[in-house]
Each structure stands twice: as C-alpha cells, then as structure tokens.
C-alpha cells in the first residue's frame, strides 16, 4: 500500500474504514433541507453542491444544519442504495452522529488541518475512524490535455 500524501486528524469518529472520492463543501448540510432523499442529489436551490450526487462519496461539510431528520434519513438512504460512504464534519450535531451510527456510515467531527482549505472534490481519501485520521491517497486526475 502506498503511503498517504497527507493526513488529517479528527477529534471524534465512528463507523467502518472506507475510502472513496471526496466531495468538498463550504456550506453546511441537512438531509432535510438540502437533499432529494429519493435520488441522492443535493437539490436545495443555490446550495454549494446543488446537482451533485452524494452516493458512495466521502462528504466534507463545515457544519450541520437543522435537524432531526438524519436520525432515520441516513438509514433510509442506506436502504435505498444512495448513501455516502462517510460524513466528515467540522462541527456536527448529535442527530448526524446518531443517524450515521444507526446506518453504519462512517462519521467524524473536528479536524486538523482544515481539509476544506486543502482538498478538492475528486481527490481520493480514506477514513480510518479507529485511528481518528483521514488520509489523502491521491489527487484527482488533472483534466485531459
């Protein structure tokens, strides 16, 4: 296995080890306000990720919005096959954590350094909750010349 290009420490973490494509948002997240829970696409008009599918992604959000819905909604989207692989939050709220644990989706809170300033959507990352780290495995492919 190749060494990670970069490591991020997180304060709190739960769930399985996962790796996948990072999606970086500078705006917070609520499954109720922002997500079409039947397609897995961010549907709130004007959201920084509007039109993007969260399926199988590793989602980076600075904050959580709302909301009680995540308690059931993460389990529901997992059942529908449109769940992300992990939620990475700067600051979250308990329902996101309860919902992610209930649905067996990896979740972390608190980070150093701030990945939103460093990572780009499309980078490939691994989340290791037991070690409380996120590893950057490779940068996204540059656009074809």
């Amino acid at each position: 296995m190749t060494a990670p290009l970069m490591m991020f420490a997180v304060d709190r973490a739960a769930g399985p080890v996962v790796e996948g494509e990072a999606v970086i948002s500078t705006e917070g997240f609520s499954p109720r306000y922002d997500l079409d829970r039947w397609t897995g696409v961010i549907s709130k008009p004007g959201h920084k990720l509007e039109g993007i599918s969260i399926k199988d992604k590793i989602l980076f959000f600075p904050t959580a919005k709302g909301g009680i819905a995540a308690g059931w909604a993460f389990y529901d989207i997992q059942g529908k096959g449109i769940a992300p692989k992990a939620f990475i939050f700067g600051v979250t709220n308990p329902v996101m954590v309860q919902g992610a644990i209930y649905a067996d989706i990896a979740i972390t809170e608190g980070w150093s350094p701030d990945p939103i300033a460093v990572l780009q959507t499309g980078d490939w990352v691994r989340v290791v909750p037991d070690r409380r780290v996120i590893e950057l495995l490779r940068r996204r492919a540059p656009p074809a010349a």
Binding site: S43, Y75, V91, Y102
Partner: protein, 418 residues
C-alpha cells in the same frame, strides 16, 4: 462509558434483545461524544413517519414491535406526514398512507403514545428545571432547554426511541452544565410585533453562528433585561428558527428564561465570542431580501411549528367573513387535540368557511409526496409567517417568502405578495 449494574444487565441481554440493541446503540453514540455515563430520563418525544424513515425504517420498526419491544418511560410522537382525512384530496400515495398506518400500529404496540405533535411542550408535557428528557424535533429541544431549563440533546427518531426503551440517555451535550452556558450576546433593540419578526431574529442570529454549541444570550438594549416578556408562541417561533438556521439547541433570554436572571449568570464565566445588536431595520431587511418573482402567490401556509389555540384563534379572526382568492390555497397545521378544541370554539369552522384547509397531526414541510404535490398544484412561491418553514422546505425547491401574519392573510385573500 461507566455502566451501572442495571446498564450492565441491559448490555448483557438479561432484559431482552431489544433493550440490548438499544443500549448498544446508545453506548456507541455516547462514546463518540466522550460521555462518561448515562442519566435517567423521564420523558421522550420521537419523530417517526414514512416520509423520513422509508421502507427500511418501517421494516425495522415492525420487527421491533413483533419482538415485543416495550418503552419504559412516557414517549410521544412528533408531527407526521399524513393527515388521513385529507390524504386523498392531497393526492398522497395510497401505498404510503397504508405504511403510515402500519408505523402507527407498531409504535402503539411498543407503548408509544402517537400524539403526532411538534408542540408537545405547549400541550402535552412540561418538564421542570434540570429534568433530563430525550426529545426531537429541534423546536421541542430548544424550547425544553431554554424555556423550561430541562435538559436534552437533539434526538433523532431511533435515538429517542432507544432512550425510552432503556429509560436513559448518554450524558453529553446539553445534559452538561458547561455546554449550557451562553457564548455570545444579542441585544434586541427592537420590539418584535409578530411571530415572523421573532423568526427573522432567529435567522439573523442563527445563520452567522451555525453551530450546535452556539448558545445566544438575548438582552434588551445595553444588556438590560428584555423589555416585554414574550408569549409562549413568540418563544416557540424564535426557538424553532434558531434551531433551524443555526442548529442551536438552547438560548438564554435575560429576565425571561430560568437560567438567565442576569447576563453574567447566563454566560457562566464565558467571554462572549460575539456581540450582536438587532434593530427594526435589520428585520425589515430580512423581509426585503426575498425574491417575489412575478408578485403572485397561490400558496399560504401557517405551520412549523403546529399552531397553538391562540394562533388558531387569531387566524380565524383575520379570516372571518372573508374568502381565500380563487385558485389559491391556505393551509394551517395543528395537533389533533388543538384542532378538536378549536373546532368546539368555532375557530376551525371560520377558517374553513373562508376556504382554508386545517390539517391535523402533520407539519407542512414533511407531507408525504410534497414535491409531486407542488408540481401538480402549480405552486412556485410559498408565503408563511414561519421562518423555520422558509428554511426547512427548500429541498422541495419552493420559492419561500417570510411575511408577517396579516400580510400572509392578505396574500391568501388576493393572490398577491408584496
């Protein structure tokens, strides 16, 4: 986490598989947040409807009910997504309506009171200062923490249910003194005169301080106590908006809420991270900030949270002898109990005579089939006096506009929004 002998017994399976599963889940959540122990709770309030839990949630709930899962403390349900009397007229999907009935049956079997209300704090259960409960939705949580001085985190449906099964919750977040202290100050240099004003304040404060751990301390000008003591419904709209825009679970209001006799007590030694002042001009700017499109609007909603008897009375008076514009819809949502009482008092009759629709046991933004309903009905803009609704319904792509109660009524009567 340190476990008592009782909790050890639950974990070992001595109290049955359902209790074991519930406490295992709670331990994982508690461990994430670094909780040292559990605290006993005396009441729980849970969200559980087909719109949010879907088929897999229903299957899990039915399995729990079949296996004899039993809630050990009083637990009530939050607003749901179907008012059975109106499901056909709203063209909600028959199959989903049937699933909603199955959810209700399963919950009742597990000793849950299916009260279907998001204003339990006004109508069902008023916890005392320091009482630990496990509540969701967020509007119920912020009211419990702030106005009653009770202690709860945001609890999602499965988590609130687990708390009722085990009779306890992990001690983290707003169960702890340190988290409950205020950490920024908001001077209200304004006398809010409508629920929409209070909701606008919630947006102005919550949006720039988006964090579960941000706890605003409201004061009057120059850190004086609040000039006019707000009503329960005003605090309800403020809290619901703060919880929605800011993900806040608690606020203090000096001279009003029980943990804020003074600014200093509310801050509990914290140095405020921010000082804000809100004036009438700030609130008016919120109202001016909405896109009115072509100035027409055929949908007016009073909901989120459900309306109290006082709010229903006011809406009925404003609509008395008038008629909702042709082609427009006016919806009001309330609890089953409030609708019964308001019917007895003639309020519901007056609203319906004007052409309004009163839904019970639901909240508008969680209605089953809302996106197709919106398309079918030709709804684009939505006018409401609820700042929370303006924020929560956005995934369904409504163009939402916050207006004062009387202005909302005018829109319903004329089809114009100003």
């Amino acid at each position: 986490m340190q476990l008592s002998s009782d909790e050890q017994a639950m974990l070992s399976g001595e109290r049955g598989a359902a209790v074991k599963e519930a406490i295992e889940f709670q331990i994982q959540v508690g461990t994430f947040f670094g909780a040292q122990r559990f605290v006993p709770i005396s009441n729980a309030h849970m969200m559980g409807d087909i719109e949010v839990m879907g088929d897999v949630g229903l299957a899990r709930l039915e399995k729990m009910a079949r296996e004899g899962t039993h809630c050990a403390v009083g637990i009530t349900t939050n607003a749901r997504c179907i008012d059975f009397a109106h499901a056909k007229a709203l063209e909600q999907v028959d199959e989903e309506v049937e699933k909603e009935r199955r959810i209700i049956a399963s919950l009742r079997k597990m000793n849950v009171i299916t009260a279907d209300t998001c204003i339990n704090y006004q109508t069902l259960y008023q916890p005392h200062l320091g009482e630990h409960v496990a509540w969701g939705d967020t509007g119920t949580v912020i009211y419990a923490n702030s106005v009653f001085g009770a202690r709860t985190n945001f609890e999602g449906g499965p988590s609130a249910l687990a708390s009722a099964i085990t009779g306890r919750t992990p001690e983290y977040g707003f169960h702890l003194d340190a988290v409950r202290r205020g950490n920024f100050v908001v001077e209200l240099d304004v006398d809010p005169s409508d629920y929409a004003d209070w909701g606008a304040i919630g947006r102005l404060v919550g949006e720039p301080h988006q964090s579960y751990y941000a706890v605003p301390v409201f004061t009057g000008p120059g850190r004086t106590p609040i000039r006019r003591s707000p009503t329960s419904d005003e605090l309800k709209h403020l809290g619901a908006s703060l919880a929605s825009y800011g993900s806040h679970a608690m606020f203090h209001m000096v001279g009003v809420t029980p943990e804020a006799p003074t600014v200093e007590t509310a801050l509990g030694g914290n140095t405020p991270t921010d000082m804000m002042k809100i004036t009438r001009a700030d609130i008016d700017k919120v109202y001016r900030g909405y896109d009115l499109k072509d100035g027409r609007c055929n949908l007016v909603v009073f909901s989120a949270p459900q309306l109290s008897l006082f709010e229903l009375k006011r809406i009925s008076e404003l609509l008395d002898g008038r008629t909702v514009a042709s082609g427009s819809r006016l919806f009001v949502t309330t609890s089953n109990a409030m609708k019964r009482a308001a019917s007895e008092l003639g309020y519901i009759g007056r609203i319906e005579a004007a052409g309004g629709t009163v839904l019970e046991g639901v909240c508008f933004y969680i209605l089953q089939n809302l996106t197709p309903m919106k398309q079918k009905m030709g709804w684009t803009s939505l006018v409401t006096n609820s700042a929370k609704l303006v924020n929560t319904i956005t995934a369904h792509r409504f163009n939402t506009i916050l207006r004062r109660t009387e202005d909302c009524i005018q829109t319903a009567l004329t089809g114009d929004v100003k």
